[in-house]
């Protein structure tokens, strides 16, 4: 016998309430300022740099995102650093917070399923992140228009937009992870620390470690296997996937994200940009990987939450 009613009853109500909470919270205010200020600083640096060096780059606008000027990192590296922080900040106390405030059993005794609560919280986090990232994106493009005085071309806008979508997917991964740990750990502080620890491991240590692991795993194999193996291992980290997506989307000359074989170079015009959709195809596995990771992590959190005891 099926259980009665829709699993999503009350979803919209939870979503709206959580959204209101996010936008009104002091935590969100701090995160917003952090993101906006640092990103603006990076873009400002990039604009100075772009003005100095180039006039003939056909993708001048994309340089806004990727160019760094010492000592500041580029806008993209800033984002890859700050987005996980922001997502974790929004998600680390999603469920255990309800437990600790003792509101969980009261809310769940209303005619809704647990599904609606968890899904509503995830969506609210994702919408909050999307709204912040979208406004940031507009800010950067607006600043670029004013300071460069060159309008972006259609393809540039398409690439910038694809970049925005990938960024949101990347934020989704960390949000889903944070929510998973907020279900698993009853203490919000533990959940935050574990998520942050995992983030450090996965984005800083893992990419550096994976070639070494590949060497021990495939000892004795030829050079190509080692390189590919190391790259595969590194791609277990969402930070690597995000970095590769950015590379393919914002650097139109990128032809492949793996090692280049001679056969692939045949007939290629070196340094010529790929069309937009070809760039998307290059990054497609990575984009799918990011979305899949989000879904998997959310599903894990969902299953854990369904099986969890409500009582404090």
């Amino acid at each position: 016998m099926r259980r009665e009613g829709s699993a999503f009853q009350g979803l919209g109500i939870v979503l709206l309430k959580e959204l209101a909470d996010h936008f009104a919270s002091a935590r969100m205010r701090v995160l917003e300022w952090l993101v906006v200020l640092t990103a603006l600083a990076a873009v400002y640096g990039a604009i100075q740099q772009v003005r100095d060096v180039t006039a003939e780059d056909p993708f001048l606008f994309l340089r806004l995102f990727t160019t760094a000027r010492e000592p500041l990192p580029s806008f993209v590296s800033f984002l890859s650093f700050l987005i996980p922080l922001m997502a974790i900040g929004l998600g680390f106390d999603a469920v255990n917070g309800e437990h600790n405030r003792r509101t969980l059993s009261r809310i769940l005794s209303q005619p809704i399923y647990r599904d609606a609560l968890l899904f509503g919280k995830f969506l609210a986090g994702l919408v909050t992140l999307s709204v912040s990232l979208l406004s940031l994106w507009f800010l950067v493009i607006g600043l670029g228009l004013i300071m460069l005085g060159v309008p972006p071309g259609g393809e540039e806008m398409a690439r910038a937009f694809a970049f925005l979508v990938v960024t949101i997917a990347y934020a989704g991964v960390w949000l889903a992870l944070a929510i998973l740990f907020s279900v698993v750990f009853r203490s919000a502080a533990t959940a935050a620390l574990v998520t942050l620890g995992l983030w450090l491991l996965v984005s800083v240590i893992w990419p550096a470690l994976s070639p070494a692991i590949a060497e021990t795993l495939f000892s004795g194999a030829d050079q190509a296997t080692l390189v590919v193996g190391g790259q595969m291992l590194a791609r277990l980290s969402p930070a690597t996937l995000f970095g590769e997506c950015v590379l393919a989307l914002l650097h139109p000359t990128t032809r492949t994200l793996g090692p280049i074989y001679l056969s692939q170079l045949q007939g290629a015009v070196m340094g010529a940009p790929l069309p937009f959709w070809d760039s998307v195809m290059v990054a497609w596995p990575q984009i799918v990987g990011l979305i899949a990771a989000t879904i998997l992590l959310f599903a894990a959190g969902y299953v854990t939450f369904q099986r969890q005891e409500v009582r404090a």
Binding site: M1, R2, R3, E4, G5, Q9, G10, I13, V14, K17, D21, A24, R101, R102, T103, S105, R106, I107, L108, S109, Q110, P111, I112, Y113, E309, V310, R311, A312
Partner: protein
């Protein structure tokens, strides 16, 4: 057989570490206040969570309004109000906003919502603080806000987990008064508590929980008879007179007479013998100064029961 609003039949909850609720069977009739009493960890909250479908049932069946909480939890939750043990609210929202959120989850229409919230807050005496943040509320106010939620829901049954826990005497008297007023509106109430004397005054029937099982069930008077053995205890205080004790013990229905202090006698009898005892004391030539009937107190029943329950395993 009466139809029960809330019914548990052989309800069992097993965890990997042990059995929290073991084959519990009881029923709450419409319009009744049923008390689940017992020490902490006796399985009261687990039983409640299974009844409203917030916890999986390991064995047995639960029925609320004849529905299975495993299969039709929404239908049950639509008509049952639940006040969890030390209920929590969103501290950064006002009392009214907290209720607005749950009212929306209940699916109340915007127009109905406003009126119901105002009426519910009025009912529990929180209208003056409706627009204050819940962070400033005392424990008693939070409990009352929890009841307001049930009132707003227009619930046909209410399940209250430790409603008076942690409240000062004044606040818990007020809360019990509110619970009693819910009953007069025909709401069926299941409440759990380990504070016996307070709860005794509101419950029609009680079940004593111990280690996941129902040890005793019935009205307070029934339990008194079962556990304390004797039905009624009459206390007499008198001055003067001769052979008062002999006179009293000669009354039909008196099982024993004790004299805890000079001029005081304690009778254990089968029925209320106050009038007869008074006549007998006067006949013995004494001046009667006090006459009282001890109703069996739940506290006594409880203590006595658990004393004897503990002695058995220790002896074995």
């Amino acid at each position: 057989m009466t139809t029960f609003v809330i019914e548990a039949n052989g309800l069992t909850k097993r965890y990997r570490t042990g059995t929290a609720v073991d084959n519990v069977t009881f029923g709450v009739a419409a319009g009744e206040i049923f008390g689940m009493l017992g020490p902490n960890g006796a399985g009261k909250t687990t039983t409640i969570l299974m009844l409203i479908g917030l916890s999986e049932v390991s064995a047995g069946t639960a029925r609320v309004f004849g529905r299975d909480p495993k299969r039709e939890p929404l239908a049950i939750k639509r008509h049952v109000g639940y006040l969890p043990d030390s209920v929590g609210f969103y501290d950064h929202l006002t009392a009214a906003d907290n209720l607005h959120y749950t009212a929306r989850l209940m699916g109340l229409e915007p127009e109905v919502r406003k009126a119901r919230i105002a009426a519910a807050l009025e009912r529990v005496g929180l209208s003056s603080v409706a627009d204050k943040k819940v962070a400033t509320f005392s424990r008693g106010m939070r409990q009352r806000l929890g009841l307001a939620e049930i009132v707003m829901k227009d619930a046909r049954a209410a399940i209250l987990d430790e409603p008076t826990n942690g409240l000062d005497p004044q606040a818990s008297v007020e809360l019990l008064e509110l619970i009693r007023s819910l009953k007069t509106q025909g709401v069926t109430i299941l409440l759990s508590s380990h504070l016996l004397d307070r709860v005794q005054s509101v419950c029609d029937r009680v079940a004593l929980f111990n280690e996941g099982r129902i040890a005793l069930m019935g009205t307070v008077a029934d339990l008194g008879r079962q556990v304390l053995g004797g039905g009624f205890a009459v206390e007499v205080e008198a001055q003067g007179g001769t052979n008062v004790a002999t006179h009293l013990s000669s009354l039909p229905g008196v099982r024993s007479v004790e004299q805890p202090a000079p001029g005081r006698w304690r009778l254990t009898c089968d029925r209320d013998l106050r009038a007869e005892a008074a006549a007998e004391v006067v006949a013995a030539g004494a001046r009667l100064s006090k006459l009282s009937l001890d109703e069996p107190s739940l506290e006594t029943i409880y203590t006595r029961y658990f004393q004897s329950a503990q002695e058995v395993p220790r002896a074995a």
